[in-house]
Amino acid sequence: MSEKQLNHIGKGYDRKDAQEKVTGQAVYVHDMEVPGMLYAKVLLSPYAHAEIVSIDCSEAKKLKGVKAVVTGKEACQRVGLYMVDKNIMAGNKTRYQGEIVAAVVAETEAIAEEAVTLISIDYKELPIVHNLDEALEAKTLVHEDLHTYEYLKGVFFPQKNTNIASWNRTKKGDIKKGFEEADFIFEDEFNVPAVAHVPMETHVAIAQADPYSDKIKIWSSAQSPFAVRQLLAKSMGIAKSNVNVIVPYVGGGFGGKAGVHLEPLVSVLSKAVHGRPVKLKMTREEEFNILPTRAGMRARFKTGMTKDGKITAMEVYHDWDSGAYADYGVNVGKTAVYSGAGAYVVPNIELHSRTIYTNKVFSTAYRGFGHLETHWAVERHMDMMAQKLDIDPYELRMRNILKPGETTISGELMYPTTGDPSACLNAVTKELNWTGRKSAEDRKREWKTGKVRGQGFAMLQKAPAMPSYTSTAAIMQMDEDGHVKVMIGAVDFGQGANTIMAQVAAEELRVPLEDVEVVWNVETDKHPYDWNTVASKYTFMGGNAVRKAARNMIQQMKEVAAQVLRCHPDELTHGDGYIYHVHQTHRRISYVKLSMGYAYENGNGIGGPLISHGIYMASGLTNPDPETGQGRPGLVWTFGAHGVDLEVDVETGEVNILKVVSAFDIGKVINRKLVDGQVFGGIVQGVGSALIEGYKFDGDSKLLNPYFGDNRIPSSKDIPDEIKAIYIEEPETAQVDGPYGARGIGEHPMISVPSAIGNAIYEALGINFHRLPLTPENVALAIDKHLKNGEE
C-alpha cells in the first residue's frame, strides 16, 4: 500500500482516553470500592537479612474491627515468573528490609494500620550480603535452597551454592585471537544504582476469593492481566480459568507493574476473611520499600582495538544487583546476551551476564530493561576509547556500527529491513552541528567563565525481550450501526496502544476513527490473550493481529455481499462503509446492512453477526544457545541515537541540558502525537536516571530514601530546554513485516540518555564519569578532584 492511500496511519489523532482523563471520570483501582470491601495493611521487615523466630499476632487480633491477621506461615505459596524464588510473604527468614512479614485485614484502613503496629516479631539477625562483591564471595547465601527452585530451564542458569540466580553467556568467535589482533586493549568499569519506576498510581489490588470454589476475581493496577492470571493461578495451585483479572485505567507502569505483585497476597487475605473483597494499596513509602526496582548494575569491559579503531574482541561482565529476588530480573540479565555490547560489530566476544542476589529490595523490568544500564557502559566505553585513540567519537562509532550483512553478538543476521543505525547517528550529529571535539585550550578558556558547554551522543538499540513463542490476539465485532468494537488483551496504561489499534482497524476497514472503539478495562474472562504489555512490542504484534482481524471481517462481509450482488467475493472491494463491485461501483451494500446478517426483501436472512479475530505469533525466534548465547531472540529491533548539548556550572556541578536531539529508525510513525509523547517522556525519564535518581542504602542495607523528598523524579524545571525528535521512515529500511512498516518505540527514548549526557559532560569538563547519577554533588566533587590534580 502506498503512502497516499493511507487515511489514518500517520495522523496525529487525539488519544481515545483523553476526555475521561481530563474530566476526572477515568476510574483507577485506587479509586475503586467494591461492596463488602475490607482493607489490608502490611508489616515490613526492619532487617535486610534475618530469621523470623516467632510472631505474636494476639494483640492485633483483639483490636475491634480486625477481621484477620495473616503471616508467612499461612501465606507460604511461592511465586515467580522465570525464577520461582519468592514467597508471597517472608517465610522463615526475611531477605530485604521492606519485605512483607505480616498483613492485617480490617474494616477500615486506619484500624488495619493500627493493628499492624500491635504485631510483635522476634528476629534473629543474619549476616547481610550488601553488594555484588560480597555476593560473589558467597560466604553468605541469600537463598540457601537455590538449587531446589523451579525455574525456566535452558534459558536461565542458577548456580548451586552461590548467589548467582542466572549466569548467561555469549560466546562468538575467538577472543584470544581477537585480542592478539588488537593494537590496544582498553578496560573500563561502569556502575548504575537501583532506580524506582515511580508510577504516579502506586501498586494496588482488590481480590475477591470465592470461599466455596477456587474462583478468584482481581482488580489490579497491572500491565499484564494474563501474566497475573497465569502466575497467580500457579502460585495458588488452581486452574488459570478460575482467575479473572480486571484491569481498568492504570496510573503508569514502566515495567514495574509488568509481572505479578500484590495480587497473590491479596487473594490469600480475601480467603482469610471468607471471600470478602480486600483492597491493598501501597503508600508511596511502601512503594519504594516493598516493590521492585530497576536493578543496580556493574559492567566491566575489556576491548581490543586496532589502531585505526576497529573492534577486534570484547570480554564483558555485566553483573546485576537484583536484590533479594530475581523473578523478572533474570530476564533483564538475559538481554545482555544479545544486546549487551551495543549496536556494533564485535567479531570475537565473550560476555557474561550474571543476575545476582543481595539483601536489598529486589529488581524487575523497567522501561527498556537492561539497556539503559548496558548502554551507559558501552557508549561511555566507546567514547573513552575514542579519546585514547584520538579518533572522533562519531568516526569510531561509524567504523564499528552494525550494517546489513553483519551479525549481532548473538549471531543474528542484519537485513536491510532490520533498520539503519547509521542513519540515526548521522541525523543526530547533523542536528547537533557536531564538528569534532573541542581542544583542551578551548575548554580551559571556557572554564574560566564558570560555565562550560559540551556536546555528546550515544547509540541505542533494543528488541523485545520475550519468550520465543510470544503471541497475541484481537477480536473485532461490528455493532448494528456499523461501528466496530475491538477487544485486545494488552493494557493501555498511557502509552496509547488503544488509540494506535483503533487507527489500524479504521485504516483496514476504511471507516472514520470515531467508528472504532477499543474496549477498555481488559478482563481476562472476556478479552483475548496477550502475553504481557511490555517490551515495546504491541504496536508490532497487536497491530498485526488487529490488521488480520479487520481483513477477516472485510472478507466475511464480501462473502455475504457476493451472494446478494451475484458475483465472486474477489470482485468486491470496500470503503466508505460499503462493500462494492470494483468496476460497477453502484452494485454495493453498506456495512450496516451486513452487520447482523443480510435480510432480503422477502424476509430471508443470510450471513450473521460480524465477529472476526486476528492473531500474531512471534515469527522465527529461538532460545539462545545455553553455552554461546547464539540464536535469534530479536523479533523487531529499533535503533536510535541521542545527542545532547549541555552546560556545566563548574562551581556548583549543576548540569543544564540545553538540547536533546534524538533519532529513531521507527519505520513508520502511526501517530506522531503519541510517538512524541513516548520520546519526550522517555528522554525525561532518562534525564532522571542520569542526573537525579537512585536508591541509597546504609550499612545495614536499609533503604535511606524511600520518599520523594530524597528520591524524587524530574520536575518541570529539570527538563531540557529543547527536545528535537527525528523519525526515520525510509521504505527501504522500514520493518517489512510490521504494520505499515512500524517498529516499537515505547522504551527506546530512555535508553542511552545518560550515556549521551555523560559523553557531553566529558566534552565540557574533560572528566570521565563511570557512575550514575551525575548529581550536582557528584559532579562538583569530581571537578574538585580534577582541579586538585592540577588538570585545569
Binding site: G24, M200, R284, G682
Partner: protein, 182 residues
C-alpha cells in the same frame, strides 16, 4: 462507626458525634464545584479523604499523601493546594474547585481541550492535579511565559509526558482564554 451522645446544659440540647478513637467530630460547611455541603467529620481527616470518602469524588488522585507530588492538587479559595496536606476542618466556609468542576456545563473548558489537543497526558493519574495547578496559574496570570508555567507545575510530578506537551497545552490555553475575553 460513631457514637452519639446528648449533652444538656443551659436548656440547650445538642448532639456531639464522636469518632472511633473518641475525638469529637466537627461540623464543616463548604462549597465544592458549586454545590453546598455540610459534613460532620473526624478532625484528623484530610481534605483529600473528605473528597474521596465523604463526597465520593475520586477525580482527585493520591500520589504520595505527603504533599510532594501534587497529584491531589485542587483549588481552595482561588489557590491551588495539596489536598492531602489540608485538614477537612480547615475547609469550613471554603469554596473548592476540583477536576470534576472544571468543565463548562457539559462542555470541556479550554484548558481541558488544550490538554487533549497537545496530548498533555498519558496514564492520566497526575492529570487532575496538573489541570488544577494550571487553572490556578491562569487565574492569577493570564499571560504566563514558559518559565512561569514550569514554576506553577513544578510541584506536580508527571512520570509519563516529560512535561513538554503540558507546557505547550497551558501556553495555548492561556492564549485562547485571552482571545475569548477580547
Amino acid at each position: 462507626m460513631c457514637s452519639t451522645e446528648k449533652v444538656t446544659g443551659k436548656n440547650i440540647e445538642k448532639c456531639i458525634e464522636y469518632t472511633e478513637s473518641g475525638l469529637p467530630k466537627i461540623t464543616i460547611r463548604f462549597e465544592v464545584n458549586g454545590d453546598q455541603f455540610e459534613k460532620h467529620v473526624d478532625p484528623t481527616m484530610t481534605l483529600l479523604q473528605l473528597l474521596h470518602h465523604e463526597l465520593k469524588l475520586f477525580g482527585t488522585k493520591e500520589g504520595c499523601g505527603e504533599g510532594e507530588c501534587g497529584a491531589c492538587s485542587i483549588i481552595m479559595n482561588g489557590k491551588a493546594v495539596n489536598s492531602c496536606l489540608v485538614l477537612a476542618a480547615e475547609v469550613d466556609g471554603a469554596v473548592l474547585l476540583t477536576v470534576e468542576g472544571l468543565g463548562r456545563g457539559n462542555e470541556l473548558s479550554i484548558l481541558q481541550q488544550e490538554f487533549i489537543k497537545y496530548d498533555a497526558l498519558q496514564c492520566g493519574f497526575c492529570t487532575p492535579g496538573m489541570l488544577m495547578s494550571a487553572r490556578s496559574l491562569l487565574d492569577r496570570n493570564p499571560e504566563p511565559d514558559d518559565d512561569e508555567i514550569k514554576e506553577a507545575i513544578e510541584g506536580n510530578f508527571c512520570r509519563c509526558t516529560g512535561y513538554v506537551p503540558i507546557i505547550a497545552a497551558v501556553r495555548s490555553a492561556a492564549k485562547r482564554e485571552r482571545e475569548e475575553l477580547k
